[in-house]
Amino acid sequence: MANEMYLTVSQKPNVQHWLVVFFMASCFAVAWWLTPHLTWFEHIGSPQFEQITPKQFGDWVEVTEAVSGTIVNPEQQEAVNNLYTQVVSRVYEQKASGRRIMLSLAYGDNQTFSKQLHRPEACYSSQGFKIEKMHEEKIQVIGQSVVVSRMLATIGQRQEQVTYWIRIGDGIISGPPTALNIARLQMSLKGYITDGLLFRISEISENEQEAHVLQDQFIRDFLQALSPAQQAMMVGLR
């Protein structure tokens, strides 16, 4: 008898239920139509940063001998492998002065959720560095102004003057960390899965002013050595 009761239970599909299915299927279709399928990585010509980064330009030349003690890569290797699709780490020397600048390019061709670039201030501090004098500055390079972030990272006696920028899709982002997500959304609205590049240079120096002048010079020389298409890969199109 109990079974009989169970069997007579019924909720047959009614108009509402069909409407729900229709509604859900249309959500699926609309979302499919709105989801970006093109990648900015291919749009700007599938950059290979190891190749386009010149080993010698202006007054600068790459230092290839082991420079242990001077270069410490603050990004943990594990995180680096997971987050970025391309990483370039070089040390350059200015021939005239003998001063050295460390260059680090970290590139991810898809800036979704868990694969987003890590900001240097977060990387350095998670490695035990103390971050001070964090600020933004506008510098003039290759006929446009670029917003760079600067900071001083200290650990023990080591003082590292860091300058960096982050390009997301077609431009460099500035302001609070949420700027990255806003830029990503804007790229999505334009129909692209966005990429992201962290361009970071640093010098071990106690003289902030001098270090910044040298770094700006480095950036200018570096970008000047690139073709317009390659410049766009570094600083965007704007």
Partner: protein, 301 residues
């Protein structure tokens, strides 16, 4: 005779299953719709982004499985849908909310919107099938599903770095109290000649979520009547998971100190992760027993 009864028994079971599908076909129809919507999301989670295979969010599929199992269990206790009155208005509210989150999430690749939309969609289906009465019977599994939503880094990140600082500070305090030569700058701990970095994973955000989920599940399964235990235990899980983390970092520091760097980074690192989890669970159960005692003293039962 024997075969005849057997055959009829089989037939009865088959008929029962068939009728179940037919009698709840409205429900199954809506489930099919939800599945169409969220297959791409599942594909992203497991294959494209691999968030649910990542270490940090690997608890997602476990939570989903537990929730579905709970839903099924609770469903068994519900005899017939016909006695429930659907609430289409509330259901459509859920569906529209789910739709906007889903479309935004898909188009802009915001995974927590998508997963949140799935939970809302399921809520909508329940409301459409049996209204608030059915929803009340199934609310725990539905609520439990929220634990599988991957939280954004912008939210977890700051909390995690605070936890890291605090874990390092407490570790150094305990170790120096125990007589070790220990110091720290930020999240780097100096123990005699060793230099240990308290990494992101050591903040133990994942352990916190897992413990919190398990705690809530435990409370629900044992059916506590006492409000004290139901409210205080989930809150206490936060310091419990913190303590478990400190225990883990201390264990790793001591392993490194006595057996060298290789031991601290190799097998023992994974082992310490398990120790952390066990420590957390034991602490949780101990706290609950204590709360039970207190609540007995207070209310006599």
């Amino acid at each position: 005779m024997n075969t005849l009864t057997q055959t009829s028994a089989y037939l009865a079971t088959a008929r029962k299953v068939q009728t179940h599908f037919v009698s709840n076909s409205g429900l199954w129809l809506m489930f099919t719709g939800l599945l169409i919507m969220f297959l791409p999301t599942l594909w992203d989670l497991f294959v494209v982004n691999g968030i649910w295979v990542d270490d940090e969010h690997a608890h997602g599929p476990i939570i989903l499985a537990i929730s579905l199992w709970l839903l099924w269990k609770r469903w068994q206790a519900i005899p017939d849908l016909a006695s429930f009155k659907p609430s289409p208005a509330l259901a459509w509210l859920c569906f529209f909310l789910a739709a906007s989150l889903y479309i935004l999430g898909r188009a802009l690749d915001i995974i927590y919107f998508e997963v949140g939309a799935f939970v809302l969609g399921l809520m909508g289906i329940v409301l459409m099938a049996g209204g608030m009465a059915l929803f009340n019977k199934l609310k725990f599994p539905l609520f439990f599903m929220l634990f599988m939503v991957p939280l954004p880094n912008s939210l977890v990140g700051p909390i995690a770095s605070l936890m890291k600082e605090a874990v390092s500070a407490v570790t150094v305090y305990v170790l120096s109290w125990a007589g070790f030569q220990v110091g720290r700058t930020g999240v780097v701990i100096y123990l005699e000649q060793y230099q240990l970095l308290v990494a992101d994973a050591c903040a133990g955000m994942r352990t916190l979520f897992m413990l919190e989920a398990l705690g809530v599940l435990y409370l629900n399964l044992v059916h506590h009547q006492s409000m004290l235990r139901n409210i205080v235990l989930p809150i206490l899980i936060i310091p419990i998971s913190f303590t478990a983390n400190v225990i883990r970092v201390i264990a790793l520091a001591l392993i490194t100190y006595y057996w060298g760097l290789a031991a601290g980074q190799g097998f023992m690192h994974g082992f310490a992760g398990m120790v952390l989890f066990l420590a957390g669970l034991l602490l949780m159960l101990a706290t609950d027993s204590m709360l039970r005692l207190i609540s007995r003293r207070l209310y006599g039962k």
